[in-house]
């Protein structure tokens, strides 16, 4: 019989014990923990020098504006822990990272290939868009049932691809609604996504060098897009210049009565994310942006956020969404109208026509690996 003095893999307490240990190490070494993201640590020194460390269980990435600080951190980590793979970030959590003088390119080409192999779609015919424009999927359809286990596996595999690919976000969240009872038409939608991936396997995000950092949020919603329960889908994309950094597509929790209402709700949930991202940016040394611009294509939603006048059409809106009003009043957030033609968030809420889809995809910062230079 052995008595454990330290944690062992497999114990329920092991991850917690590890986090306590590494957190203690960082705090001892004058790192500051970000209060809104517990795995983000920063260390600042004189003359604006900064070191940023992000932790993912036992993998960590670090960057900073001073080579000396980076080296010092590396040395000290090697003294305390046994480290491997000390190199320029290249392959992290299945995401391929390419760093050069033009910027940083991230993609999941290898993972995408594995997904295609897993679902036996390596030899399929590629298509140009992930969903047939205007297609509606319903929970109750009369087609024969598909294999639910396989369907769930496919949804899970595709979900991770959205880490670098905002163009898949809408379709993946759409197919995930039918996980409990998929039919053949749902499975065909999955296969179409896989065919689209086959055709666009090289796509990834490019973050260019020398861009200004201005956080802008694009929001959009459809109206009663779900044919079963008439709920709307909200979508938003955060852009810091050219590349999108955060995106979401989600069915709203409540049924709405007017087209203004879902737009108002998405702006409110986007505002929460805005505040979080601003805090992260402040932690890693980017202060100065007074307010965040939310670009929304509904004028009436903007008006509603500015004037606290209740009228017949809006008096039922749940109080929590008026959180947005307070933020607008405080001046932290500014809503402004934006042309639907260039609305990036459209890609999160509807199945677009091919031309528009390609245009918005390009605008969100996506580019094929072979086109970088």
């Amino acid at each position: 019989m052995y008595k454990l003095k330290k944690a062992l893999y497999g114990l329920k307490q092991a991850p917690r014990a590890w986090y306590n240990k590494i957190e203690a190490y960082f705090l001892q070494n004058d790192f500051e923990r970000c209060f809104c993201e517990h795995t983000l640590f920063t260390k600042s020194a004189k003359e604006g020098k900064i070191l940023i460390v992000s932790l993912y269980v036992d993998d960590l990435i670090y960057t900073g504006n001073d080579q000396g600080m980076c080296d010092e951190f590396k040395e000290s980590m090697m003294l305390v822990f046994y480290m491997t793979n000390l190199e320029k970030m290249r392959y992290f959590l299945g995401i391929e990272v390419l760093q050069n003088t033009n910027g940083i390119f991230v993609c999941q080409q290898k993972y995408a290939q594995e997904v295609l192999i897993r679902f036996n779609m390596v030899e399929c015919n590629p298509v140009k868009n992930p969903i047939v424009p205007g297609m509606k999927l319903s929970r109750t359809d009369t087609r024969p049932k598909a294999d639910a286990t396989l369907y769930k596996q496919a949804v899970g595999s595709l979900m991770y691809l959205t880490a670098t690919r905002p163009d898949l976000m809408y379709v993946v969240s759409l197919i995930s609604r039918f996980m409990e009872n998929p039919s053949e038409s749902h499975w065909n939608a999955v296969k179409r996504i896989l065919r689209y991936i086959k055709g666009t396997i090289e796509l990834g995000m490019l973050y260019k060098r020398g861009e200004d950092i201005t956080l802008v949020a694009y929001t959009d919603s459809d109206y009663a897009g779900d044919v079963d329960d008439r709920k709307s889908t909200s979508g938003f994309v955060f852009s810091l210049g050219t590349g999108a950094v955060s995106w979401s597509s989600k069915k709203q929790p409540i049924v709405t009565l007017s087209t203004t209402e879902p737009e108002y709700i998405v702006a409110a949930s986007c505002a929460c994310q805005c505040i979080w991202i601003m805090r992260i940016l402040e932690t890693i040394g980017f202060k100065g942006q007074k307010h965040i611009l939310i670009l929304c294509d509904s004028n009436s939603a903007i008006k509603l956020s500015e004037n606290s006048i209740f009228h017949g059409r809006s008096k039922h809106i749940d109080g929590r969404f008026h959180f947005l009003k307070d933020l607008v009043k405080e001046g932290k957030i500014k809503l402004s109208h934006y042309n639907t033609q260039n609305q990036i968030a459209d890609i999160m809420t509807k199945s677009l026509k091919l031309e528009q889809f390609m245009k918005i995809r390009r605008m969100s910062g996506m580019i094929a690996a072979s086109d970088i230079n």
Binding site: L8, Q13, A14, W18, S54, L55, I61, N85, L86, I213
Partner: protein, 290 residues
Amino acid sequence: MVKINIITHVHTPDQQQSKLDNKSKPCILFGVSDELKAYRLFDPVNKKIIINKDVVFEENKGWNWEQSGAENHPEIVVAAKESSDSQSEPEEEQPESQAVRNDSHTPTLEIPAEGRAKRNRRKPVWMADYEEGGSIYNDSNTSVMLAAETDPVTFEEAIKSKKWQEAMVKEMKAIEKNQTWELTHAPKDVKPIGVKWIYKTKLKENGEVDKFKARLVAKGYAQHYGVDYTEVFALVTKLDTIRIILYVAAKNGWFIFQMDVKSAFLHGERGNICSTSSWIYRKGIGRKGV
């Protein structure tokens, strides 16, 4: 009264059968289910127990176990394989009049003489020119290759090969270096947790073998919530944060570096681990190969 061991025909649900499939499959009655108002049946083809009440009996026909055990089993399995093939390639089942008699190769499904008579399956005409490939999987070379690609599951399997032995030695060294445990006598009322080895082949980005990794894990599933532990915690970053860092680094032209902490969880101090879970039982993981 239920007569055991007689042949029955279980109806296949409509969703699971397509137009040309059998509507039922022959099974052997094993008795009545304890949980449900239904019969317990044995499916000799898939070797499974089925519980179903949609059943037709052939009361005067019994299953001949001696015959089926010795001769029929391999053939039944072959037939099952064929019938699953025929779902994907319906052409294989041709009308009997067109088929050429080719009895020497024909695998037949022979449910014992007193069972329901099945028609003979023949190879289709167009198959005459082909060599059947189904047998390559039995080839000894392929099975060795397949085994080499999959990781061992048990200690006994792993200890046979050198590479896994080395991996285990490495892991034991890491554990000892961290002074993870000490040998003691456990108090009477302590229930120790077992440990086991997990083996995994790690691949590089280009698909080449990176290393063979052996990891000693405690059987955490033996711990009980509220007794041995009170919280489960995983330390992960939101991908949004990582992308923001990437963007900021790209904008400023900083380079991002990465590193892995080796055997990270072994570093954790055992501060708040409850007493019952801090004992592990180490029989059989042993020092045999180390």
